[in-house]
């Protein structure tokens, strides 16, 4: 009879603070959960009484890694509420900035946070000595994506120039051309990234679940669109609450989300599963090499899906820059806004999954109500369901190995606990 007790306090190499608790007595799973120990953030309350123009700068501070994603979602929420139509140039520049953040976040996660597990080390730092080329490549990609974000937003994280209706500062054409060249050079790094990650042994594990992402008819969706689920549902953004159904669950530390099943998953794997056909051909090729085929039910392959999206984002960034250069960068002021009492929902599929902001704005332009549903919050229930399914399959292994597998599973989700605006802390019952 097996007794296993895993208690990982302050899970490392994830954003924010989480604990994994697994308790098996006499071969029976007694306890299996992910505890969130981060202190509360209260961003929704912080927005109350603030002018809508400030909302993107405030919500950007929910997460330093998804700052562009939060800022863009916030801008789209205010714009949809106020009826503002940004120009085509704005749309293209925002997309480009977004690709930068996708690459930035995914390279951080796959190379710096996930890869050490496969190399059997505690961080990326020892890899600098043993696998110098791998680390240097990661740093190169990281620098490129950070610079891409800074070219548009003004700095790597917490963008400055993005505002409701457009931009307060525009990149010039020579900056765009220089960036294009670096992106073209990065294709080689992408090839080598795929080559590296296809040698890694992803744990064999499958559990059927529902995948939720944005979708658009004309492109692989990151900004705007409709909500699509792999169980065949399609909703307009305004109906987001029908999907997220946030519940406060007593046994858990976080508000849990569920739609058609006990849980659903958001993030790169969900997007690749739902919108595979719209990936750039180069990205589809990467998926084939990594053994990622829709629909894939192995959560560990979320990291592979992130690599696929990095390839996609490099290619699409080049394409977007070409389009911007062909049009020429036009000096333009942000679209004028007519302030009125209004409400609106905005959504982006940020690196870690679909994100919703929902604002009520008063006739004085001040926010009177706000709700943010972040990706990691939506994934908690699915993480726990995966944990419950995985533990019995690996019970015969030594405890340290089980612990590592659980950590790897949770890390595969790339959880951003620090941005969990919705979670609760409960007493440890052990």
């Amino acid at each position: 009879m097996t007794n296993v007790s895993v208690n990982v306090h302050h899970l490392t190499r994830v954003e924010g603070h989480g604990n994994i608790i697994v308790d098996v007595r006499n071969g029976e799973l007694k306890e299996c959960r992910l505890e969130i120990v981060e202190s509360p953030r209260f961003f929704e309350a912080m927005l109350l009484g603030k002018p809508y123009q400030q909302a993107s700068h405030i919500t950007s501070r929910i997460c330093g890694i998804c700052a562009v994603g939060h800022a863009t979602t916030s801008l789209r929420t205010s714009e949809r509420a106020l009826g503002v139509e940004p120009s085509q140039q704005t749309v293209l520049l925002r997309k480009l900035n977004f690709f930068g953040e996708i690459i930035d976040s995914h390279v951080l996660h796959t190379y710096m946070l996930v890869a050490p597990d496969f190399f059997g080390v505690g961080s990326v730092i020892p890899l600098a000595k043993t696998h110098t080329d791998v680390v240097l490549r990661a740093l190169r990609i990281k620098k490129l994506s950070g610079d891409l974000c800074a070219m548009i937003g003004g700095r790597h994280t917490h963008p400055i120039a993005l505002c409701v209706g457009g931009f307060t500062h525009l990149p010039n054409e020579s900056e765009l051309r220089a960036m294009r060249k670096r992106l073209v050079d990065a294709r080689r790094d992408m090839d080598e990234t795929v080559a590296l990650f296809k040698t890694l042994d992803w744990p064999q594990f499958e559990r059927e679940t529902e995948y939720v992402s944005l979708t658009k008819s004309d492109e692989y969706a990151f900004i705007d669109g409709q909500i699509k689920t792999s169980d065949g549902f399609l909703y307009d953004l305004d109906a987001y609450r029908q999907v997220t159904n946030e519940k406060i669950v007593p046994h858990s530390t976080a508000k849990h989300a569920s739609h058609n099943r006990e849980s659903y998953m958001v993030g790169a794997l969900a997007r690749v599963n739902n919108n595979f056909d719209q990936l750039h051909p180069q990205a589809k090729d990467a998926a084939a090499q990594l053994g990622l085929e829709p629909i894939c039910y192995n959560s560990f392959l979320n990291s592979a899906a992130q690599i696929v999206e990095m390839v996609h984002s490099v290619e699409e960034s080049i394409r977007t820059i070409d389009e911007l250069l062909a049009r020429g960068i036009k000096p333009e002021e942000p679209v004028e806004v007519e302030v009125k009492e209004c409400t609106g929902v905005g959504s982006c599929d940020v690196p870690r999954g679909i994100l919703f902001h929902d604002y009520e704005i008063g006739d004085d332009g001040l926010i009177t109500g706000a709700n943010c549903v972040i990706p990691t919050g939506q994934n908690y229930a699915n993480m726990e369901a995966d944990m419950r399914a995985l533990v019995p399959q690996i019970l015969d292994r030594p405890e340290p190995e089980i612990t590592l597998m659980m950590e790897m599973l949770i890390r595969a989700y790339d959880p951003c606990i620090s941005c969990s605006t919705h979670f609760l802390e409960v007493e440890f019952v052990g």
């Binding site: 924010g16 509360p40 912080m46 505690g122 950070g146 406060i248 620090s418 605006t421 919705h422």
Partner: protein, 252 residues
């Protein structure tokens, strides 16, 4: 000679300052030879409890945070507040203007009492902070300057003059001339006036200069007919904690 041991800790934050540290390590890998990082939860699994310099990111947001910070303070020879959240309370303190119970109920409804929270505050509200690196996020080169100074046993120098000085060196058109507002005249320089350079008014993430009434950018204020008081009233993004302290509103 053994390398000085350094540890990073985070409280309520977006971790953007730690990310900026990671960026700095990427561009200056020689730092990794100069110090030994014993804790950096965001980037590594190892956890060492013996350290000379503790970098603390984030605000205190609940009573239990103070205990943890005191433990860090006891072990650390030097404690550095990293970024706006730890330095002045940052965005987290925005909610301090509203009654705490209302804030908690707004986000968590009926279950608001399930977890603990108090008014958000900077590290210095609970322990002695030896140095701070301002900004939201911190400035990469300023971080490197501070670390270098500490390693050489020098006092890090953090600028204490108004942002307008840097902004003028950049030859930016003043935002007040474009009909926008900006906290530059009373905010600490050191970021290269990055927000005005990108067309947006300074929101004050680096905190007030010492004695703004005396040290503010007099010329800019005069030119645009502004008063220190008027500008200070707009410090509602990062400066809520500082403002409430000055107004004498208690935080308990």
């Amino acid at each position: 000679m053994s390398r000085p041991k350094v540890a990073f800790f985070d409280f309520t934050s977006c971790e953007g300052c730690q990310l900026t540290v990671l960026d700095a390590l990427q561009t200056h890998p020689e730092l990794l030879d100069a110090v030994e990082i014993v804790q950096f939860r965001e980037a590594m699994s190892e956890k060492g409890e013996d350290y000379l310099i503790a970098f603390v990111e984030g605000s205190l947001a609940r009573p239990a945070d103070e205990e943890r910070l005191r433990g860090i303070r006891e072990k650390a020879g030097i404690l550095v507040a990293l970024g706006s959240c730890a330095h002045i309370g940052g965005v987290n303190a925005i909610r301090n203007r509203q009654p705490l119970e209302k804030v908690r109920k707004h986000v968590y409804g009926e279950k608001w009492e399930w977890f603990d929270a108090y008014e958000a505050r900077p590290a210095s509200a609970a322990v002695k902070v030896d140095f701070f690196i301002p900004g939201c996020p911190i400035d990469r080169s300023e971080f490197l300057e501070v670390v270098t100074a500490l390693l050489l046993g020098r006092q890090p120098k953090i600028r204490d003059y108004p942002l307008c000085v840097e902004c003028k060196l950049k030859e930016n058109v003043c935002l007040y001339d474009k009909g926008k507002s900006c906290l530059g005249p009373i905010i600490r320089a050191g970021c290269g006036a990055i927000c005005p350079t990108y067309g947006d008014g300074c929101e004050g993430c680096r905190g007030l200069i010492t004695n703004p009434n005396i040290n503010a950018a007099e010329d800019v204020l005069k030119e645009h007919g502004l008063s220190v008081k008027e500008i200070m009233a707009q410090m509602d993004m990062f400066g809520t904690y500082q403002m409430m302290e000055m107004e004498g509103v208690g935080h308990d």
